[in-house]
């Protein structure tokens, strides 16, 4: 099966090359159809968001399309901040023209006249080629007024992220475009109704939008032949850690974790655990490596695939050390607004840090569980709600290894135990 999203070529395609490779043919075709037809096709494809939330894209687009407004916006979320994730980097660096074509198609479908490509600040090295691409497209009539003589106006502005994981959350992203701190907004109202500057806005991840091209090109039915019954299409998995070949791999849903690691990544030795979905994802022991990479398989574990980041940890990784570093990440990235996330992350990071130095007691496990639960149930937004997914799953399988630290023992030798440690 050929890939839907990635050409095997690694080179950055110029505009001419892209056009020669049938670039913009899909756009031209789409512009001749009524917008509702496009949305119907996307609904039929069962496409869900690829950024982490997994919401049905067709429904989201439909909500925006239905709104009556003098202006609507499309935002492409390339704030890729989930640790272990670098797929959007690849999409934007290999072929930004494809991403832009997808944006134009989506904008047409929902009736948006202005788009924002919000790229995380750490990818600033991608800015120049993207700006150049936008300029070329304006010159060629693919952006701006009356695109391809269709009467459709749309242009895209590049916006830089500024170092805040929380801005991957769509309402925080919108706050940041509006010139404020990235504090998530109250939902409802949802961005489809009240988004950027109060107008109907569609916010979607880069990979999500990139899927719209193959759907409109091949049709929903062909698209659905990739993947499983409930998870259609392919997913870009960013694999890092102890695999031989780290990188981004496109595989159809339904591929097992073992297949991905062995067949695509050259395998890995002495696997201890795998975290799926980035730092906010579930931690699976090696024994579960045959799990299918699909939404339904993970939903049975009350988990999701998140951004599709896969971190493979071998026996040399100390689970407690790993959890400690992860907790420090969430503590640093919390916006600080709501009690469960701000205070919860504070306590969790502190307890894990102390435990890794042999300080604490068995009761700390109860505290970790209790705090994780309240964060999941009562946090204002997804950051707090998923920050402890890894911790809770790790406690299921690795509680003994963690508790061993109280006897000042660390299997892997990673943790050291200073006398009278620092609290």
């Amino acid at each position: 099966m050929s890939n839907l999203l990635f050409e095997r070529s690694d080179t950055l395609l110029s505009f001419d090359d892209y056009q020669q490779a049938d670039g913009f043919k899909v756009l031209q075709c789409v512009l001749k159809k009524p917008p509702l037809e496009i949305i119907d096709e996307i609904k039929a494809s069962n496409l869900v968001g690829r950024g982490g939330a997994g919401f049905p894209v067709g429904i989201k687009m439909s909500s925006v399309q239905r709104m009556e407004s003098d202006i609507k916006y499309l935002v492409c979320n390339a704030d890729e901040g989930e640790p272990g994730t670098f797929k959007d980097r690849e999409l934007l660096s290999r072929n930004p023209l494809k991403v832009i074509e997808s944006m134009i198609i989506s904008a047409y479908a929902i009736g948006a006249s202005k788009g924002y490509l919000y790229v995380r600040g750490e990818y600033a090295y991608l800015k120049a080629p993207i700006l150049e691409a936008l300029e070329v497209l304006r010159g060629e009539g693919y952006l701006g007024k009356n695109i391809c003589d269709s009467g459709f106006d749309f242009d895209i502005e590049y916006r830089s992220g500024i170092g805040a994981y929380i801005c991957g959350e769509e309402t925080a992203l919108i706050e940041s475009i509006e010139g404020r701190s990235g504090d998530p907004r109250n939902k409802p109202p949802y961005t489809a109704e009240v988004g950027l500057w109060g107008k109907p806005t569609l916010v979607n991840n880069v990979e999500t939008l990139a899927n719209i091209l193959p759907i409109m090109d091949l049709g929903a039915e062909v698209y659905k032949t990739y993947g499983t019954e409930k998870s259609a299409g392919t997913k870009l998995f960013s694999v890092s850690g102890s695999v031989i070949n780290k990188g981004v791999y496109e595989v159809p849903f339904g591929t097992t974790l073992r297949q991905l690691i062995d067949e695509e990544c050259g395998g890995a030795e002495h696997i201890k655990f795998i975290q799926v979905g980035g730092s906010s994802g579930i931690i699976l022991p090696e024994s579960m490596i045959d799990i299918e990479l699909s939404y339904e398989a993970f939903s049975e574990l009350d988990a999701g695939l998140g951004s599709g980041a896969i971190y493979v940890a071998d026996e040399s990784v100390c689970v407690l050390d790993y959890l400690k570093v992860t907790a420090a990440f969430f503590k640093h990235e919390s916006c600080g607004k709501c009690t469960p996330c701000r205070e919860g992350n504070r306590h969790i990071e502190r307890i894990l840090r102390n435990l890794s130095q042999g300080i604490g007691s068995k009761e700390d496990i109860d505290t970790l569980q209790r705090t994780s639960l309240v964060m999941k149930e009562a946090s204002f937004c997804g950051l707090g709600q998923t920050a402890t997914s890894g911790l809770v799953s790790a406690l299921k399988y690795f509680e003994d290894e963690i508790l061993l630290h109280l006897e000042e023992k660390c299997h892997t030798g990673v943790c050291s135990f200073p006398k009278g440690g620092d609290q």
């Binding site: 890729e80 901040g81 989930e82 640790p83 272990g84 994730t85 670098f86 959007d88 980097r89 995380r120 600040g121 750490e122 990818y123 600033a124 090295y125 916006r159 830089s160 992220g161 500024i162 170092g163 805040a164 994981y165 940041s176 475009i177 509006e178 010139g179 404020r180 701190s181 990235g182 500057w197 960013s238 694999v239 890092s240 850690g241 780290k246 990188g247 981004v248 975290q275 730092s279 980041a309 971190y311 940890a313 040399s316 990784v317 050390d321 790993y322 570093v325 992860t326 420090a328 990440f329 640093h332 990235e333 916006c335």
Partner: protein
């Protein structure tokens, strides 16, 4: 263009604000541009005050928003800012050693600036280079699969560039 403190002149602020737009929602783009053009990669008190004046936002609000984002700094940093990734995929195995390598070579700890004000060292969350762990970001470039030799060469090359200027 630069005042004695080696930083951005207040007049430059007006230029940038006029170029990007004198509206409240342009605040962050303006701050990014101002920081990029400053020598020590930060937003000084004068700059923040001037931006606040021009955009009719309170000084505290501009300061507050600048401090929300990890990529903006209201503290003076080095002419080159070195950010070492401390998220799990980088930090777990080699990342911690990377910190020691930089600290060794530069003679400063994380959070500090070298005496000649050339380099400052800080942590950063995941920069999306996990397939090339351990990685660091220096100015706008990301460097992966770093070891002592590579770090040494990169820093030396930056030093050479500066002396050439």
């Amino acid at each position: 263009m630069f005042s004695k403190g080696g930083d951005i002149m207040v007049g430059k602020v007006l230029e940038i604000v006029d170029k990007l737009g004198r509206k409240e929602d342009k605040l962050i783009e303006i701050l990014i541009e101002l920081q990029n053009q400053s020598v020590y990669n930060y937003l000084s008190k004068d700059v923040i005050k001037e931006v606040a004046n021009l955009l009719d936002i309170s000084e505290t609000k501009v300061y507050g928003i600048a401090n929300f984002y990890s990529m903006l700094s209201t503290q003076k940093r080095g002419r080159h800012v070195i950010q070492i990734c401390n998220s799990a995929p980088c930090y777990i195995k080699e990342g911690q050693h990377l910190v020691t390598i930089f600290e060794d070579i530069l003679g400063i700890n994380i959070g500090e600036v070298t005496e000649d004000k050339m380099f400052s060292l800080e942590y950063t969350s995941c920069i999306g280079a996990c397939d090339q762990a351990p990685a660091a970001r220096i100015d706008e470039m990301i460097y992966g699969e770093l070891d002592r030799a590579k770090v040494f060469n990169i820093l030396a090359s930056l030093r050479r560039e500066e002396t050439d200027e």
